[in-house]
């Protein structure tokens, strides 16, 4: 199993419970807005601590309430592309891309800087600040930053939501290439049926009762 996940999360008034186990490739996490998809990604990344359950990725236990195991986010080797991107505003695009790369052990790195920049088509953006990027440009930089950090798996939170037409097609092609070239397990949050149908190898549905 690429992802073996059982979570019981409490966020304020709400309780999110979700269990799934999926194989290699892309797992699409679908459901209406506000159902807690981003919270599930945060828990898999270690930014939220579930009340109970476990998070096992490719056989490595990242969290297990019963065994009192909780690997801190900085040690999970998780490439999380946030819905709000969270590029560092005080750093150039190049420095944003290098941020995770410089902190990842060499053995874990799956792709070089030059190749990532070419794959994402962001060669001309390297000297710019995030505030000057368009939505599509910033989205690609955020994906690049996560890829270069030597991730063992990727979590993509609505990577296509802010984009239209050709840009959306470009990012979908990038995600397909990442799957083909690096064999990284991925969780993709989306609520667009067409994207899910095209990209997903597995589909996990969340609804308000889950």
């Amino acid at each position: 199993m690429a992802f073996d996940i059982a979570l019981d999360l409490v966020r304020g008034e709400r309780r999110i419970a979700l269990t799934f186990a999926t194989g290699a490739g892309i797992t699409a996490l679908c459901g209406p807005s506000g159902v807690g998809k981003s919270s599930v990604l945060a828990a898999v990344a270690g930014l939220l601590r579930p009340q109970s359950g476990h998070v096992v990725v490719d056989g490595v236990t990242l969290f297990d309430a019963a065994q009192n195991v909780s690997v801190p986010p900085e040690a999970r080797a998780c490439g999380l592309v946030f819905q709000d991107l969270r590029l560092f505003p005080h750093l150039t695009v190049a420095a944003n891309l290098h941020y995770g790369e410089r902190r990842a052990p060499r053995a874990r790195q799956i792709v070089g800087f030059a190749e990532t920049v070419r794959l994402l088509g962001i060669e001309d953006l390297l000297a710019r600040r995030p505030a000057t990027l368009s939505g599509g440009e910033a989205q690609r930089v955020a994906i690049g930053r996560a890829l270069l950090a030597g991730p063992r798996f990727l979590l993509l939170d609505e990577p296509l939501a802010a984009l239209d037409g050709a840009l959306r097609e470009g990012i979908m092609a990038v995600i397909e290439r990442i799957r083909a070239e690096f064999a990284l397990p991925m969780i993709l949050v989306s609520h667009h049926a067409d994207q899910v149908a095209r990209l997903a190898d597995h589909v996990v549905l969340m609804d308000t009762s889950s």
Binding site: S39, A42, A45, G46, L47, L48, P72, P73, E74, A75, R76, A77, C78, G79, L80, F82, D84, R86, F88, P89, H90, Y99, G100, R103, A104, R145, A146, A149
Partner: protein
């Protein structure tokens, strides 16, 4: 133009102000960090204590410093015994008084910039492999930089104007503790010193105005929208 003794007064004021602001900076940053990020029961009390020098009569602060740093005082005795130094009647004492008086303003400026930092950026740094100190140095500190710069300028400006606590704590010793305001006060006590008063007052106005303009400019650059909190 200024006379040589008047230049010495300006020089002393700049030295006291510079030492005061750099000495107060680490303390101000630590307090600002705790007040911006901490969640504990005594927060309101700590906040009030930090702001005390802003509202207490400066003479009270000076008197408290005098009690603490007198040769027989709790801090003064230790300094005298272990380091063989005293702050009484010394420019270092003037710098300490200025630092204490400037502290609330510096804490405020740094705290504002820390509170404007989106904690989600620190969470992003975590997922990219940055530990606590790493995140602090590469994300928090650079984003707080405008506030730190503003705090330095504000602290410097406040130090230049310090009077009550200084004269109470270290007296008005020409060439040692007689900074601009104290020298102006001394000149006012003597007949025939009007031109000195005018010149020193003008220097004070120019220095303070410059510092305020710079700090306002820095604060404007730091106050950006979008400081929502989340994971």
């Amino acid at each position: 133009m200024l006379t040589a003794p008047e230049w010495a007064i300006v020089g002393l004021s700049l030295k006291v102000g510079a030492v005061a602001m750099f000495a107060a900076l680490p303390v101000a940053f630590a307090l600002a960090y705790v007040l911006a990020r901490g969640r504990f029961a005594g927060m309101i009390l700590l906040d009030a204590v930090v702001h005390l020098p802003l509202v207490l009569p400066p003479v009270v602060i000076g008197w408290l410093l005098l009690i603490a740093f007198a040769p027989a005082g709790p801090v003064g005795a230790i300094l005298q015994r272990w380091l063989g130094i005293t702050l009484l009647f010394r420019w270092t004492g003037a710098a300490l008084a200025a630092a204490v008086m400037a502290l609330p303003l510096m804490v405020r400026a740094i705290r504002l910039s820390l509170e404007a930092i989106d904690p989600r950026l620190e969470a992003a740094a975590r997922t990219l492999g940055a530990g606590p100190i790493d995140r602090f140095v590469t994300v928090t500190l650079p984003l707080a930089r405008p506030g730190v710069l503003a705090a330095l300028v504000l602290g410097f400006a406040r130090s230049l104007g310090e009077f009550g606590a200084t004269i109470t704590f270290v007296s008005n010793v020409p060439g040692e503790t007689a900074t601009l305001p104290l020298a102006i006060y001394a000149a006012l006590q003597e007949p025939g010193q009007e031109s000195t008063v005018w010149r020193l007052a003008l220097v004070s106005v120019l220095l303070s105005l410059g510092a305020l303009v710079v700090s306002e400019w820095l604060m404007r650059r730091t106050s950006k929208p979008g400081s929502a909190h989340g994971v």
